[in-house]
Subunit: 233 residues, 4 copies
Amino acid sequence: MNDIPYRSALVIGAGTGISASVTRLLRAADIPVVVAARNIDKLAPLVKQTGAIALPVDATDAAQVEQLFAETEARIGAPEIVVYNASGRVRGPIADLDPAEVEHAVAVSALGAFYAVQQAARRMVPAGKGAILLTGATAGVKGFALSAPFAMGKFALRGLAQSAARELAPKGIHVAHVVIDGGVRAEHRADPPDRPDSTLDPDAIAQSYIDLLRQHRSAWSWELEVRPWVENF
Amino acid sequence: MNDIPYRSALVIGAGTGISASVTRLLRAADIPVVVAARNIDKLAPLVKQTGAIALPVDATDAAQVEQLFAETEARIGAPEIVVYNASGRVRGPIADLDPAEVEHAVAVSALGAFYAVQQAARRMVPAGKGAILLTGATAGVKGFALSAPFAMGKFALRGLAQSAARELAPKGIHVAHVVIDGGVRAEHRADPPDRPDSTLDPDAIAQSYIDLLRQHRSAWSWELEVRPWVENF
Amino acid sequence: MNDIPYRSALVIGAGTGISASVTRLLRAADIPVVVAARNIDKLAPLVKQTGAIALPVDATDAAQVEQLFAETEARIGAPEIVVYNASGRVRGPIADLDPAEVEHAVAVSALGAFYAVQQAARRMVPAGKGAILLTGATAGVKGFALSAPFAMGKFALRGLAQSAARELAPKGIHVAHVVIDGGVRAEHRADPPDRPDSTLDPDAIAQSYIDLLRQHRSAWSWELEVRPWVENF
Amino acid sequence: MNDIPYRSALVIGAGTGISASVTRLLRAADIPVVVAARNIDKLAPLVKQTGAIALPVDATDAAQVEQLFAETEARIGAPEIVVYNASGRVRGPIADLDPAEVEHAVAVSALGAFYAVQQAARRMVPAGKGAILLTGATAGVKGFALSAPFAMGKFALRGLAQSAARELAPKGIHVAHVVIDGGVRAEHRADPPDRPDSTLDPDAIAQSYIDLLRQHRSAWSWELEVRPWVENF
């Protein structure tokens, strides 16, 4: 039974982790999916496995994001689900960072998300329906030392999510921000035997994305955090 | 398919709203449920409808809570799911409140929850398994004017939930706090026609409780808030 | 120059740390101070040093708190500043704690504060003036493992502070909650030479209390956290 | 008496409000001050009144910010106090905003602050001393509808502040973020007679900045919010 009340999806910042798992669950529910990334070569296995359509995009370029939505609309209809999963990260002492890299990191984590939310809003508001899921991180609620650019980008993303939820929820659009607290398990990489499930299984995360999509509008969540049972927090 | 990985449930502070909806969903998954309240007469329809067992308890009395768990264990086995849903509320200017009523309100919202969490922990820790769901409110994250006792109780409940999650999650016990932000729809009471789903449907809330129970331990949430799409927040 | 705009103070939960330092700064500004504690013997040096008046109180007893305010009013006038500094703490696994001790801990940290805020409000609201400072802890914003009762009490205190600030600020009463994040330096106890100022100097904390008292009503803070420069947070 | 333990200050994003008041208080303590803004013509009265030095800067240009610090160092020595007070704001429905304006708003509120913090860190870390004060807003803790770009910028600023505080405090540098909650009183503009002090007096805000500068390192605050006594929050 497909009880996800949406008929098309666009997943931006796609790779092999969360976005691949979300894509598989959406495809299993027979929802057409476009997956977008800067380099779509790496998406070939996912495309082959799921039948998703891969499109290239540099999410930090507003015009490319606009073009991506137009192309998506042409291929599978206006996306009723949009997932933004791209992050920019550069680490180091504040004094040593390269300003251009900082700017780029914030652009990937936050400005790209804005462009995507904007394109989504333009299509979803007239339809009175849609869901926007933004992949956040602990860095969006706690600014760690030696990671200022990631904190800036993920805090900004959370601010965008909250503002968008306040604006768009009363128009029928469910905006949710998911705080991933911990390391996501990489493909073909097992947890230490004495610490099973100590990294986040991307399929488990994806299930929570699906649960959010299935929430009834009388009881929507705008934020959800997930972490492994053994994670310190 | 019953994919809730628990086999018995105790719902404390049962009535006609959230707890009744949770009970129905658990019973639909064939999980035995004990529902407990100060006055169990009002639970008769729920018992009749679902086959849940009703037991009386004054949750502010540690000995009665201990007795409730013992009786539950005798009837359906040690509860693997415990839901605490009781609240104490008294409103008014701080200067005018009756200290005894304030004390009682905090006891119902928070001390009773502690007694329940303690009894649950005594059974779940040795088993290495279990789930504890605590019903919170916006008052637990924002202290409103003229409602100090409710703020005190719900803030305390949230502190308990967070502390219990940090202690018990690594022992295999999922503790989650659900922030209900808005009015819960009362039985036989419809939303205004121009504001559909402007109150929280208890069945929709209950679905999120079930989703929490189904989360994989590699990606547990310790908190979830839910609110109607049109709610100001 | 005395630019603290209040003329009398009551400090509850007095000892040798924060409350003693606050008392000294208030007395240095020529403000009459009553210091109250369960056992006032330990206050003798402070009384001798500052000329503060010591009165006994069990803060968990609403009637005693009421009596304390009446006695304070008789001695130095209705207190225009009230500082609540008492805490109840009991540590251990949730399963092992004594319910009566948990109840008492919450009563000391939170119910006693409510009784004090209530008595303060009864006097300050008619006067349209006053300041209430509540000593919180990191445990009031983060519930640590093995410390559920302290988390419950300090979360509840913070909820009370926020609710009281929302109710009382528009009536001219400044309510502020101070989050002490770290260990307070004990009397006659120095920090390790390689970690100077790694514990909170109570005189430094007290200065921030005084700064709060001096804030103009157009720019009041309801919360302030303080921590040592080298504290992890 | 000048008990501010710093000897030079740079105030970026200077105008007639908070930054002018901070400048006056610093100058009253005989601390040399450079004030910087995009258009320094408007700073002429402040310069005349206080003897501060005005320098032009576009804070969104990393090279200009670097040049500003070099010039400041040449004029008054490396700044031991840095205040960042610039904000970018553009309002409207998400669907209607101009992406370039959004990018610019985030750059003014957050990237410019990063460039300033970086330049400050390069000078303060070797000295083992300094203070960085960042002017935030309620929008940095709560994302309002129709104001996504301001939320993004101010959330990012808060993330930067928290990350910088964690990195730099143990190096002797006090980083603090001030949440301004409410409208700041404009020059020559009075509050309504029936709502005195219902806007934030910039002199009152500035006093809290000075109080932060005077905090002892054993009890530093990384965040402070200020709001009018009658403000809803």
